[in-house]
Symmetry: C2
């Protein structure tokens, strides 16, 4: 458990929630004073497994994680990607039993908060509670966009859309910009986000590159003309419910 002296390990959580509601200084302090333990994971490590009954709600302090399900024939579908500040596991802990897996994508540091403490705080301080609720609602909104992405767009459009989403979210998290960002995912993982095969993901990326819409070096993505990529990806950021001055609307 943390003492006040380690001074703000939970500040990424404050930053995230402050985007959703106007937190008072006391609200912020109450968040920072939540009890937690820090755990770290190597790439591929399981944070939660389908069927677990997690006792903690986890905040990502650094690194990336992803949620996924395995379907009957062994296929994997990635459901969402999480980054610094994200409340990775409010869903599973509040629902009592996990309905999907959460796995580390990179080296990950996690703050684990007993979910009873989270619930207490939510109802003791309505503003914080609204912010947390709002956060889970935004997650759901992203899920809806993914349903549409996977269900009704072709491969090239889907991957462009995904790259746009990453750009905006990384920028709002302070980890990059819509012009350039790092995203440590393999093409296989990207393909599992979009319901494609790895081969087809490779083809789609190649198509986007040869049209000059993105450049990639290793795991870094550069976007020279955001407008064209957003158009190719049928991307409008409304569903992310962020309003930051820096984000181009199209």
């Amino acid at each position: 458990m943390a003492s006040l002296t380690d001074n703000g390990a939970l500040s990424p959580m404050v930053r995230k929630l402050a985007a959703w509601a106007a937190l008072s200084p006391e609200d912020e302090r109450a968040i920072l004073e939540l009890p937690y333990t820090v755990r770290s994971f190597s790439p591929g490590g399981y944070i939660v497994r389908d069927g677990d009954k997690p006792q903690n709600s986890c905040v990502l302090l650094s690194g990336f994680a992803y949620r996924h399900k395995i379907v009957g024939d062994g296929g994997r579908q990635i459901l969402s990607i999480h980054m610094k500040g994200d409340l990775v596991d409010l869903h599973n802990s509040l629902l009592h039993t996990a309905d999907h897996n959460v796995q580390a994508l990179s080296q990950v540091e996690l703050a684990c908060i007993p979910h009873e403490a989270v619930k207490e705080l939510a109802f003791a301080r309505p503003t914080v509670g609204v912010a947390m609720w709002y956060d889970t609602l935004v997650d759901a909104s992203i899920h809806r966009e993914w349903i549409a992405n996977v269900g009704r767009r072709d491969g090239r459009t889907r991957t462009a859309h995904l790259l746009c989403e990453f750009g905006v979210r990384l920028e709002t998290a302070g980890l990059g910009s819509t012009r350039e960002y790092d995203m440590p995912m393999t093409q296989e993982q990207l393909s599992d986000c979009t319901g494609l095969t790895p081969v087809h993901m490779s083809r789609s990326l190649k198509a986007l590159e040869s049209e000059g819409l993105v450049r990639r070096t290793k795991r870094a993505v550069s976007i020279d003309d955001w407008g064209r990529l957003a158009e190719a990806g049928d991307f409008r950021p409304d569903y992310l419910h962020v309003t930051m001055p820096g984000i181009p609307l199209l």
Copy 2:
């Protein structure tokens, strides 16, 4: 606005929330005493449009509704189906601006509650608040399953899965059973749930029927062997987070 004398128009909402948390009699009364107005819609009527700033959170009193998005090329993706007791619009009203459409599927009666009243109740009575939060989390869980369904299962499996989900949800809502239920959707609408074309939905349904997994007459569905249909649909109901004795686990 309602007076106490119209006696329990919001009871479907009580029934729904009572499934998620142990409501006290006072909790139930507080819900029933929420202010509301009733509106009705004909099939196809818009309850909320993408971009609206709804002031109300709506409860479905009767009939069916669906949420959907229109993508760039005009394609439609249905995101979820709603039935009696569902809080159709907590998401959109709490997020301030709607990121998708909600439309009536059949004749619909709706109770519209000012969302400020909902929020106040949620924080005045934590048990009710938890139940509402939980409800939105279950919605998100269903969204995740749909991502996997659309992304990683073939047409026949997808449609079997959808038919299973309807069975379980209608049974828990008291509107049918996993052996037989009514669902007033056209094949075009079913295809928009699954990311298929209407033609292929027709093929998939035909396949399931010719294997003896379902029978359909008009808009009614009969399932003789739940186990076989669930297997064909790769369906396990965990993600619905219902625990009713009547629901076969496989």
